[in-house]
Structure formats: C-alpha cells, structure tokens
C-alpha cells in the first residue's frame, strides 16, 4: 500500500510526462530503491546511501521471488510471503550484496 501511494504521488509530482513513479529516493540517511516489473509488482529496497549494486540486487530478488514464492504451489498470490526458502535465499542475496557493495566504490 505504501508502495502504491509512493508511486501514485511520484507519478503526479513528476515534471516529466509519462513518469513511471519513484525509482530512487535519496536522503542523507538512506536510499530507497524501487524496481517495478511489467506485471506491476514493486520491489523496494532501503539501503545505506553508499551501498552499490542495488540494481543487481533488485533483479536478483525478482528471481528469488519467481523461484521460492511463485513456484511454491502453497503460496497464494498477493499474500504475505511466509516461505522459509524464500527468506533464506533472500537473506543470502542481501549478504552477498552487502559484501559486494563494500568493494563497490569506483566500479
């Protein structure tokens, strides 16, 4: 719901026509990254402003969602994701991104 609000507000505030909403919101304390799929699903990541390769992370999260949430037949679409494998894989993807990010300066 927060995501849809952000998107709706973002689309309307934008001086550019045909804006697709907020892709990145930067503050001193955090950077909010948003990736929207062609199916309308939004992946949002809140990260340290210095963290690099969030784009790659967002795409990786999309893959993890497609695998461990959607391919689990007991997961119903639109419901909160309570799949252990999803959580585990998400956690390791975040850990990898964090480590990669620390060497990211200048890449």
């Amino acid at each position: 719901m927060l995501a849809s609000m952000l998107f709706a507000i973002g689309s309307q505030l934008s001086p550019e026509p045909g804006s697709s909403g907020i892709e990145m919101l930067e503050t001193d304390v955090f950077k909010l990254h948003c990736f929207q799929t062609l199916t309308g699903i939004k992946f949002i990541v809140l990260a340290d402003p210095r963290q690099a390769s969030i784009d790659a992370l967002l795409r990786k999260i999309y893959e993890i969602y497609a695998d461990f949430a959607l391919k689990n037949p007991f997961y119903s679409l639109e419901m909160p994701i309570r799949c252990e494998l999803f959580d585990q894989n998400l956690k390791s993807a975040l850990e990898i991104a964090e480590k990669a990010g620390n060497f990211g300066a200048g890449s």
């Binding site: 998107f7 804006s19 697709s20 909403g21 062609l38 999309y62 890449s107």
Partner: protein
C-alpha cells in the same frame, strides 16, 4: 561486474518422458474425476491459468525481454522465446488477421502429447488445453486480455496442431504506474 546465477536447475535436465507421463497422469485422473470432456477442458484451462500467472514472472525475471510494443511483437516473443524456453519447441506464427489482432501458432511437435493417442470416447477432449490457460494467465499479468484456443490438434486427426490467439483488450486497471 557479472551477476552470478546460483540457479542449480540450469544444469539439471529433466527427462521429458517423465514430464509427458506426469501430464498424462494428470489428464487421465481429471477424466476419471469429472467423466465429462468439456469439464476436463475447463479444469485444464484453469490449472493452466494458475501456472501462467506464476510462470510470467519467472519468464520476465530471467529473460531480458521488455514490454512489447504491439501484438506482433508479443506473438514473436511467445513463439521464439517463451515456447523455446519452456517447451523446447519453436512454433511458427502465421495466419494474421487483417486487423492484426489474431494469429496462429503452428506446433510441429508438442512435448505434452508424445506417445499419446486419444480414444474414441474422448472426442471432445482438448488434451493440451493446459497450454491455453498458461498463455491466457501469463498475458493477463502483463495487462493483455486474450482468447486462446486449439483450432487444430494432431491428436484429433489434424495434420498440425494450431493454437489461435486473439487479442481482446488491454486491461486498464492495475496498470503499473506511469504506463498510461
């Protein structure tokens, strides 16, 4: 910086015979449960739909395909990328309607029907109807309402298997922000 794929299924090749047998078991069980070809066709379409709405995300997450500009592009992506990726076959795209809103997919081979013969008492059964549901569900998730049906089927004596796809309308509600 290259992205590492830790998807182990890339190197796992499943035996297609098991796939054919699994699908066959599914269809025959449905036939036993419902005892009515039309009803089985409906169930296959429903199941296909549930697969399609999930499969589309896998497709989009893994292929670099962007939003198609028109129905022709959609047809090409379905035939050359999607069918290739998931069924290992590339149907040909033909028989476009003058308005460009209908086309046919001609399948030379269909992995679902390897070794299958339809008995006489199942004349109305559309054995591979799951595929219609998959296509319908997948396209609905990218805001396209389509009608999909088999118009020719080698299982029912035709020379080729032909799936007809018709564009109904663009689904306006739940458009991703900025897509209007």
């Amino acid at each position: 910086m290259s992205r590492q794929s830790n998807r182990t299924t890339d190197s796992k090749k499943m035996n297609s015979e098991l796939f054919t047998l699994t699908y066959g078991a599914l269809v025959t069980q449905l036939c036993k449960d419902y005892e009515n070809d039309e009803e089985v066709n409906k169930q296959l379409d429903k199941m296909g739909y549930n697969i399609g709405v999930r499969l589309i995300e896998d497709f989009l997450a893994r292929s670099s395909v962007g939003r198609c500009q028109d129905f022709r592009e959609t047809a090409d992506v379905i035939a050359k990328v999607a069918f290739k990726t998931y069924l290992g076959v590339t149907p040909s795209v033909t028989n476009w309607s003058p308005a460009g809103d209908e086309f046919s997919l001609i399948l030379e081979s269909n992995p679902l029907v390897d070794f299958v013969e339809l008995p006489d008492n199942h004349n109305a059964l559309i054995y591979s109807n799951l595929l219609c549901g998959v296509l319908r569900g997948a396209l609905e998730m990218v805001q396209m309402a389509v009608d999909v049906k088999f118009v020719q089927d080698t299982l029912r004596g035709d020379n080729v298997t032909e799936i007809r796809m018709k564009f109904i309308k663009r689904i306006e509600e739940n458009l991703p922000a900025g897509d209007e």
